[in-house]
Symmetry: C3
Subunit: 155 residues, 3 copies
C-alpha cells in the first residue's frame, strides 16, 4: 500500500487551447498520433498543464500503449477480436458484421484520455505512445478533439 | 501514422463549476444522461472548455456509446455478460451473484470521462451519447459528479 | 432516461499543481494509492477542482474499485487473467509470457483518471478506492503523475 510523493509544483492556469486532429485510418489497426498530440501542445504555447484528448466516434478508440515492438499492437488487435468476436450473438448487424464488435471494442477501451504536460511537452512514459485504434474493416476519417489547460510557456 | 491538425483556439480559463447528477436506474442496462450533461454545461454559463464526469460507484459505469440503434445497447449488455459471467469462478459472493460481475464490468469500462465544450455546448460526435450503465440486477440510485473548467460564456 | 441535477457551484480556477507518486509493487495485484492521492491534494492547498492521475506504464493500470472486501480485488485479478490468458495466441513474447497479457490488461482498464475535489478533499464514493494494478509477475517501480486544477483553499 502507498508510495512516495514528490515535491509539488504550483502555477496559475491562464491558458486553455483547443484544436481538432483528423486521422485517416487504413482499416482495422493502430495509428500513432503521439507526434500530432505533442505538436498541438507546442503550438499552443503551453507550459505546465494537462492535455485532454477526445475521440468523436463509437467504433474506434484512443489508447496509451507500448511504442517499441510492433508485434504488441498486432497482438492487441488479436486480443480485441477474441473478446468481441465478429460471429458473436449480436442482434445489431444492419451496418455489417464488423460494426457491433467495433462498438464493444470501443466500450472496453477509451474515447477520452488525459496526459500531463510539463514545460510544453507531454510527459509520457518511456515506452508509451498515443494511439487511435480503428475497429472497422474499412478505412475511415476520424476526428479527435484536443484541449490543453494550464500555464502558458512565456508567462 | 499521423494526421491533420487544425488551427488552435485559445482563451483564458476563468470558470470552474460543479454539480451532482442523481440517476435512478431500473436495473441492468443503459440510461442516457446526455441531456443532463448538456444542461449542466449550459446552466454553468460555460463558453469553451472541458466537461468532466465522475461516477461514485463500482458496480456501474459511464460510457460514450452509439445513440442511434437501441439494439447496440442491448448487445453491449450481452457482451459484458459474456466477459464477466455470473457463474464465473468468483470468491466474492456476499452481496449476491450479480455483484462481482458488476465490479468486473465497471473495471472494463470507465468511471471518469472528459468531453470537450465549445460555445457552451458539449461537442460529441454525431452518433455519440453519454450513458450510465447499471450492472446490478436491482434498481439503484446513482450519483455522477459533473465539473466544467474553461471560459465563461459572457467573458 | 435522465436524472436530477443539483444546484451549480462556481469558482475561479487559479491553481494548477503537479507531482509524481512512486509506487513499489510486489508483483501482480492491487496497490491502494487513495491516501497518497488525497495527500497530494491537501498539500497542494487545493479548494474545489479536479484531480487528474496518469500512469506512465503500459503493463500496469489505474482503476477506481471497491475498497471493502479484499476478495473483490482477488477476483478482479482472476477476471483479467481469464480475459488475457498467458497462454493466448500472442506473437510478442520477447519480454516473457506475462508481458503481452499485461499490455492487454492495461488496454482493457485505464492509465488516466479524473476525480472531483471539493474543499480540498477528493470526493470518492463510499466504497471507492484508487488503485494501481500491477500486471507483471515481478515487483516493479511505477510512476504516477498527479495534477490538480482548480481553486486554492485560501482564495
Amino acid at each position: 500500500m502507498g508510495g512516495r510523493l514528490s515535491a509539488i509544483r504550483s502555477v496559475a492556469p491562464q491558458l486553455l487551447t483547443g484544436a481538432e486532429l483528423v486521422v485517416d485510418t487504413t482499416g482495422e489497426g493502430f495509428t500513432d498520433v503521439t507526434r500530432e498530440a505533442a505538436r498541438f501542445v507546442e503550438q499552443s504555447g503551453a507550459g505546465d498543464g494537462v492535455l485532454l484528448l477526445y475521440l468523436r466516434h463509437t467504433s474506434a478508440s484512443l489508447v496509451i500503449q507500448e511504442n517499441a515492438d510492433p508485434d504488441v499492437r498486432i497482438d492487441l488487435v488479436k486480443a480485441l477480436r477474441l473478446l468481441a468476436p465478429a460471429d458473436g450473438p449480436w442482434v445489431h448487424s444492419a451496418e455489417g458484421p464488423d460494426d457491433m464488435p467495433s462498438h464493444i471494442k470501443s466500450m472496453l477501451t477509451e474515447v477520452s484520455l488525459s496526459i500531463p504536460v510539463m514545460g510544453g511537452r507531454i510527459v509520457l512514459g518511456t515506452w508509451q505512445g498515443v494511439y487511435l485504434i480503428e475497429h472497422r474493416d474499412a478505412p475511415h476519417e476520424r476526428n479527435i478533439a484536443l484541449s490543453f489547460i494550464g500555464k502558458s510557456a512565456e508567462a
